[in-house]
């Protein structure tokens, strides 16, 4: 086919060889190429690349965002549950503490009360004992003098200051007490 063309060139237009480029042919070929190259390089392809990247981001980013949102949601749920468990534990602990405190307070109060009761009882008994002793003592004195007065009246003599008489009364009273004690023990 090539030879046909060359022959045709030789035959019809001897000055034209289609394999040798004319200068304007080369120049316009180069101009067209350069313009188009710059056009695609600087304008078209950056736009397309940007769009493709954005599209990929939109697709992958959507998936990523969904995953992130899901992770956040489950994290939030976990932390909520953890907080809930904490709160429950805290409430239980407070309740337990309160119960323990209450028990302690009740025990203390009981103890205090019984101690107070014991103290009051002891004081009362002591007082009663003291009063009994006082009564016994005064009774003993009074009974003694009464007996002496009675005896003096009976015998007509003053026995009041006699040491013997006092000793006699004391002995009598001691015997009385002894017999009383013996009677108590006997009962």
């Amino acid at each position: 086919m090539l030879t046909t063309v060359i022959r045709a060139a030789e035959g019809g237009h001897e000055t034209i060889n289609p394999l040798l480029p004319a200068t304007p042919d080369l120049i316009w070929g180069a101009v067209v190429f350069v313009v188009l190259f710059i056009f695609f390089w600087k304008i078209v392809l950056p736009r397309v690349t940007k769009t493709l990247d954005e599209r990929r981001d939109a697709i992958e980013g959507g998936i990523e965002r969904a995953e992130i949102a899901q992770a956040e949601a489950s994290a939030a749920r976990e932390s909520y549950q953890a907080q809930l468990a904490d709160a429950r534990g805290e409430a239980g602990r407070i309740r337990e503490q309160a119960r323990v405190d209450g028990d302690k307070i009740i025990a203390e109060k009981k103890e205090q009360a019984s101690a107070e009761a014991a103290r009051i009882l002891a004081a009362a008994q002591a007082q009663i004992e003291a009063e009994r002793l006082a009564a016994q003592t005064s009774l003993r004195t009074e009974v003694g003098s009464l007996a002496l007065d009675l005896a003096s009246g009976v015998v007509g003599e003053a026995l009041g200051d006699d040491k013997k008489a006092t000793a006699l009364v004391d002995r009598f009273l001691a015997d009385l007490e002894a017999s009383e004690a013996a009677g108590k023990a006997g009962k």
Partner: protein, 266 residues
């Protein structure tokens, strides 16, 4: 339109198309290195058409493309895929502007061969294919030298593993095939496809015109014109295929040569 561009055929003698088809009269800037004939003007028109189409197609691109943007993206996807499949993602991106330019420039210039009113491919005169072949040539040699400085030429001429006595012979063959034949075949394959396509179409349509002329004069041989018209139509469709195929082949070979240069064994 075509018959108008032809030398007037006389009624009784058929005159086929000549190589003069590709060297029409100068229209603009006569006498300067920038003089323009019909084909140069067609090149400028194609350039403007490509710029306008792709400017509109990529203006305010949306994430969800409309029909036109989708079409533009599909078109731009062809050279992108060629680059990425042959050169890998990184180098494919680097050489994408060149491959895209070559693809659409060749395609646009080829397709004018069957565009009514133009009827001749912008690539059917050898200047533009030479420019493109030289750029492809410089690109793959430059890529090889940059990637493997010092060893690229040596390994291109004598592949590793060649027995020493054979080396000079291999070197001559490899030099011829890599550094001479590649750009020449790139140029001629494209130019000759377009030249032959154009000559065929002109032949069919001038023949149709000639036969119908005969028919007008009462010659029954003129009925052959129906056949030539049909062939002309069929070859017009075929030329669309050739236009796309040649654009693809030129882009593919540029990518293949670059890939071979980058992947040179060391």
């Amino acid at each position: 339109m075509l018959p108008l561009a032809l030398p007037a055929a006389s009624d009784d003698q058929f005159q086929g198309p000549t190589i003069g088809e590709f060297f029409p009269d100068v229209i603009l800037f006569a006498g300067t290195p920038f003089e323009m004939n019909r084909i140069m003007i067609i090149r400028i028109v194609v350039l403007l058409a490509i710029v306008i189409i792709f400017s509109i197609g990529t203006y305010r691109m949306k994430l969800v493309p409309g029909r036109f943007q989708g079409l533009i993206e599909i078109l731009l996807g062809y050279p992108r895929r060629v680059g990425e499949e042959l050169l890998g993602e990184k180098d494919g991106k680097k050489f994408l502007p060149l491959l895209t330019t070559i693809f659409f420039l060749v395609l646009g210039m080829n397709i004018t061969g069957i565009v009514p009113g133009m009827n001749i491919a912008g690539t059917s005169v050898i200047g533009l294919p030479i420019v493109l072949a030289v750029i492809s040539y410089v690109t793959f040699i430059g890529a090889g030298l940059k990637k493997h400085p010092g060893t690229f030429i040596k390994n291109s001429l004598v592949p590793p593993g060649v027995p020493l006595p054979l080396a000079p012979l291999i070197a001559i063959i490899e030099f011829f095939s890599t550094f001479v034949l590649r750009p020449v075949t790139l140029t001629l394959r494209l130019t000759m496809n377009m030249v032959v396509g154009h000559l065929l179409l002109v032949l069919f349509f001038t023949a149709t015109s000639f036969f119908f002329g005969l028919l007008g004069n009462g010659n029954p041989l003129g009925l052959l014109g129906a056949g030539t018209l049909l062939f002309g139509f069929a070859f017009s469709v075929f030329e669309i295929l050739v236009a796309i195929l040649q654009a693809y082949v030129f882009t593919l070979l540029t990518a293949v040569y670059t890939q071979l240069a980058l992947a040179e064994e060391h």
